[in-house]
């Protein structure tokens, strides 16, 4: 092939010839290797990001590339978006209270890795970066992240069991209710039911939360950082760890989607009645979607709490649920790559982008508009525009696109009328 092309081209410049050879060589590589090339490149570039982000040129209007600090937040929010995508994108259950899972994860970190319960109990399990005699629970963040995931998944099941037999829009409202109740518990939890029990420390929030790390022993033996807070490149460590968690999330999400469970989710999303007729157990499958989505929300929440070193009840209001939903919808419901792009972009806009754009607008037009103040108006507009003009999202999954174009059946098995009395 390459030879014949070269003969046809005859006396062309050598550069194009060499490119041709490279392309031919590339085609000769096994399919597996070719398929892995793009993700590998992206992952390597992402891991090296802290080394070159300073030297990247400014983008017009958007300003400079996001800082490493912002990149950590972006990564964590992408994780949450992927978690929500399991519920909304795969299983087609609209969850308007995803922030509740984020809150549970964050508060789990706050309970098990801070001096909060210092007055009543003290326990250290592999804690790093804190005085060994410090009061309160101090559990290694790695363990806390796992526990938070499991606890949140459990809460997801608890919320799901009574509510999942409801129809789509009623379910949305119920989840919204839970999403509103959770932060109120957080805000008023400093004196729960007037018993004097301080669960959440109210509006002041809980801080400081321990940083992640590997402890002195591993530091001495393997050179791993003992804790991220005092390490010289702490921010980069936070970023890399977040990336590892994100990779884990993406891996699980992809594997889940292709599993029998994942196919059952998609079957339910497309036609609940048909899926039930084919023997998919509706409640169980939906509950698992909730648990899986909640699990990643919990992990992300716990890690984010450790990164920020504090939790406040005001971090968990309704708008955050919509913010994460907006990420999923902008990227493309059900498509994990779309969700990653959408989540990264919106989290960036929220952290830095809107501020930069606002500064640019104000400078150009001599106005004085506080653009970040209107962030949720902008996200609302994104929701409306995407739904009206490109409901399958910017990077749609082929299957979802077909559903939006051809429509799916609108009858639900558990209709209000048909609900068991």
């Amino acid at each position: 092939m390459a030879r014949s092309r070269r003969q046809e081209l005859g006396g062309r410049v050598s550069k194009s010839l060499r490119l041709d050879v490279v392309r031919a060589q590339w085609r000769r590589l096994p399919r597996r290797v070719r398929g892995a090339a793009l993700p590998t490149t992206v992952i390597v570039l992402a891991f090296l990001y802290p080394y070159y982000n300073e030297s990247l040129p400014d983008i017009p209007v958007f300003g400079s590339f996001p800082s490493v600090d912002t990149a950590v937040t972006m990564t964590i929010f992408i994780m949450m978006a992927i978690g929500l995508n399991i519920v909304v994108g795969y299983a087609g259950l609209l969850d308007l209270g995803y922030v509740a899972f984020y809150a549970v994860g964050a508060y789990t970190a706050a309970w098990f890795a801070s001096p909060h319960f210092g007055e009543s109990a003290t326990a250290h399990v592999g804690s790093v970066g804190v005085n060994p005699n410090a009061a309160g629970f101090h559990v290694s963040i790695w363990l806390v992240v796992l526990v938070a995931g499991i606890l949140t998944a459990f809460i997801g099941v608890l919320i799901g069991l009574p509510t999942l037999r409801l129809r789509g829009d009623y379910l949305a409202i119920v989840t919204l209710g839970f999403g509103e109740i959770m932060p109120q518990i957080a805000r008023n939890g400093d004196n729960l039911f007037s018993t004097g029990f301080n669960l959440t420390n109210g509006a002041q929030g809980i801080n400081p939360i321990d940083p992640p790390g590997f402890g002195e022993t591993l530091n001495r033996w393997l050179g791993l950082p003992s804790d991220y807070l005092t390490a010289a490149n702490g921010l980069r460590l936070f970023y890399w760890t977040a990336l590892v968690l994100l990779l884990f999330t993406v891996f699980c999400s992809v594997r889940l989607r292709d599993s029998r469970l994942g196919r059952a989710w998609i079957a339910i999303r497309e036609d609940e009645t048909a899926a039930a007729a084919m023997g998919v157990p509706l409640m169980r499958t939906k509950t698992w979607a909730y648990a899986a989505g909640a699990f990643f929300g919990g992990i992300a929440g716990a890690y984010y709490a450790s990164f920020k070193g504090a939790v406040f009840p005001d971090d968990f209001f309704f708008n955050i649920s919509i913010f994460i939903l907006c990420m999923v919808i902008l990227g493309g419901l059900g498509n994990i790559w779309g969700v990653i792009v959408g989540g990264g972009f919106l989290a960036y806009l929220n952290q830095e982008g809107l501020g930069n754009i606002g500064a640019e607008i104000n400078q150009t037009f001599g106005t004085n508009i506080d653009v970040p103040l209107y962030q949720f108006g902008i996200f609302g507009a994104i929701l409306v525009l995407v739904m009206l003009f490109k409901p399958e999202g910017l990077i749609p999954s082929a299957r979802r696109k077909a559903e939006f174009e051809e429509g799916v059946t609108e009858e639900y098995l558990y209709d209000v009328r048909g609900a068991p009395e």
Binding site: G92, T163, L166, I173, N188, A267, F379, A381, V384, M387
Partner: protein, 352 residues
């Protein structure tokens, strides 16, 4: 591949029959506790109870008006119009603007009343126009999309309207000049019933009567009920479905406008995110009464407002205003889980 899903390796859930047994018992227990709580409080502090009852009655009228909007729209489109609360809030803001620009503070007598009526007409038209526009722009295109699509645009519209208000009036509450007379109408047991509370009821009741007559007696109302029951069949019967839906949104918006006027004049301040909060409460009211059921929406509004007011004010074993929001949402969840068709029983889309 899906045929094999029967053998998914998960533990099975408990049988539904046990759930069916527990649920009514649990619900009955909750209602019983509610009555015990109310009864004890009534005996301990009767005057306070009565005062809170009057506040609840007044707020309930406003919630009922907003809840009717949710109910109407849900009845015809099966869509939770999240933006409805924000339409109501924009109406309140327009009233705030009109009261200050007409310079009504300190006025009284016939002039004041005619101005209030004029404002009522303007604000109803304003909110009706917004609501109809929203339907036209954001919902009509999605009539045949998956169910979640219009719900998501509704949330988006809600945020857009909130931010319009934010641009218009800023983040701080906009205060409205107090123009309603606040003298007492009569006093029972040391508690005065004031004119402003009565006026809210005096405005609400005729609006409700007109609405019920409209839905049950007019041709347009018949068309609404038909469209709610079966959109395709009513189209075949020669009903202009699109126009009927537009008209429903128009009516719902007008009701939100009336509620906005009463709210602004009675509470005397409006904030950009107030509509969303109150919208959720009103939606809960609509669900409690039975969504799509018009008398149910009013009943639900009254109930929710009573619970809110009693919870904010009563002394004995009361969670207090910190928990009001949670209680209302807990009621919403309990109703949806245990009795999704609402208190007023059978689910009839329009007219009840």
């Amino acid at each position: 591949m899906v045929t094999q899903a029967r053998r998914l390796p998960f533990p099975t859930l408990a049988g539904r029959s046990a759930v069916q047994l527990i649920m009514p018992t649990f619900a009955a227990l909750l209602v019983l506790l509610l009555f015990v709580w109310l009864g004890v409080n009534l005996i301990k502090t009767p005057a306070e109870f009565y005062r809170l009852f009057l506040i609840g009655l007044t707020n309930g009228a406003i919630y009922g008006l907003v809840a009717l909007g949710y109910s109407l729209v849900y009845g015809i489109l099966e869509l939770i119009n999240f933006a409805h609360g924000d339409v109501f809030m924009l109406g309140g803001m327009l009233v705030a603007t009109m009261v200050s620009s007409f310079g009504l503070a300190g006025d009284s007598g016939l002039f004041l009343w005619s101005m209030i009526l004029l404002m009522l007409v303007i604000v109803m038209a304003f909110c009706a126009a917004i609501n109809t526009t929203i339907e036209l722009v954001a919902y009509r295109r999605l009539r045949h999309a998956p169910r979640l699509a219009p719900l998501i645009t509704a949330i988006g519209m809600s945020f857009i309207l909130q931010n319009i208000a934010l641009v218009w009036k800023g983040a701080r509450p906009t205060s409205v000049d107090s123009i309603l007379p606040r003298g007492e109408v009569f006093t029972i047991g040391g508690v005065a019933y004031t004119w402003d509370k009565l006026i809210v009821l005096l405005f609400t009741v005729p609006v409700l009567i007109v609405l019920v007559l409209l839905v049950q007696r007019t041709r347009q109302g018949k068309a609404m009920r038909a469209t709610a029951q079966d959109r395709d069949a009513s189209a075949m019967m020669g009903i202009n479905v699109n126009r009927t839906i537009s008209f429903t949104f128009f009516i719902a918006g007008a009701l939100a406008g009336a509620a906005g006027l009463l709210y602004a004049l009675y509470i005397t301040n409006v904030r950009y995110d107030e509509g969303f909060r109150l919208g959720l409460i009103a939606f809960t009211a609509a669900v409690v009464g039975g969504i799509g059921n018009l008398p149910g929406a009013v009943l639900g509004g009254l109930l929710i407002a009573m619970i809110e007011s009693f919870n904010n004010g009563l002394g004995w074993a009361t969670p207090g205003s910190d928990w009001t929001q949670s209680i209302i949402f807990a009621i919403l969840i309990i109703i949806l889980v245990f009795r999704p068709e609402g208190l007023l029983g059978e689910r009839t889309p329009e007219g009840g």
